[in-house]
Subunit: 194 residues, 2 copies
Amino acid sequence: MADALPVTFIAGKTGPWQIERITTVSGAGLLAAERLLVHEGADYTAPTVSPTEATSSPDWVLRGAVSNQRYTTAAELTRLNAQSPALGRPDATVASLIPITKSNEWWELAQDERRAIFEETSHHIRRSMDYLPAVARRLHHCRDLGGPFDFLTWFEFAPINAAAFDDLLAELRGTTEWTFVEREVEVRVTRGPR
Amino acid sequence: MADALPVTFIAGKTGPWQIERITTVSGAGLLAAERLLVHEGADYTAPTVSPTEATSSPDWVLRGAVSNQRYTTAAELTRLNAQSPALGRPDATVASLIPITKSNEWWELAQDERRAIFEETSHHIRRSMDYLPAVARRLHHCRDLGGPFDFLTWFEFAPINAAAFDDLLAELRGTTEWTFVEREVEVRVTRGPR
């Protein structure tokens, strides 16, 4: 990857993804909305709202950046790259946006302590790898951007793999790593014409 | 550290730090300016320039965030915390802002590969530790923010330690890690009344 890629998730009345449900897993939730738009690049600005065009205002906007790996080793990266599908597969008509905030306790840990919990204890990469290539994934970092979340993870898969994806989420939520998650919301969407 | 702390460095006509020199080490430099202001918190916005107040416009503005450690181990962090002085010591009247951009080749490396170059090969932490507590240091991350630099490092020291600080910079610039640095500027400032 070259420069960090800014990505903005805009929930409102427009966008190619229909929001099926927004589930609050822990902490504060997110407002209900109809559609989700994923904007790549730095130039997204929220529309100006006039009294007669109130519907053009998004319900919420979350920003992140596709950035460098923080925990993945070279050996893991080789295996991940070999098995990870691209976003935008025609049959991947279901997607999930999972914004997460971890606790101050997590962020105060040193790099080796976080890595040990992340993989050696909680097997975040190994567990996720079991769901490749069915589930495409892209991680967006936002802690340094000062927003309400630390990460926005975006997953895409075919409807037939939705149950398996739910199993992955349940597995991860049972790990030691997840004891440091203090806010988590799942936004489940399907691709469909407006 | 709790949430990432946004910090803005504003070069222009005002601020407690007088800019002594701006040295381009590699890549593109920065515009000359008289004074430097360090603003902590998210609410800095560049002043609106009117034709009669052109001097109020900053020469340049760089933003970063004090964020979590990316390479430091728990053992290293314990030693660093024990020896690292706070910013703002009365006798630390010299400071240096060093904005750096690393190459795509660096950012495409896996975490363990970057860590190995950073410390096991280049001894970034060990070398820096030799200059504690003389040199106070704070690192600001900005790669995910989309600005022109990846890091802004701020150092503060007494005038008597300026030569030692220059030795540290020369040492670091000779390491393997620095072969991945494609842009580096040093802004040397002294604290003085305006």
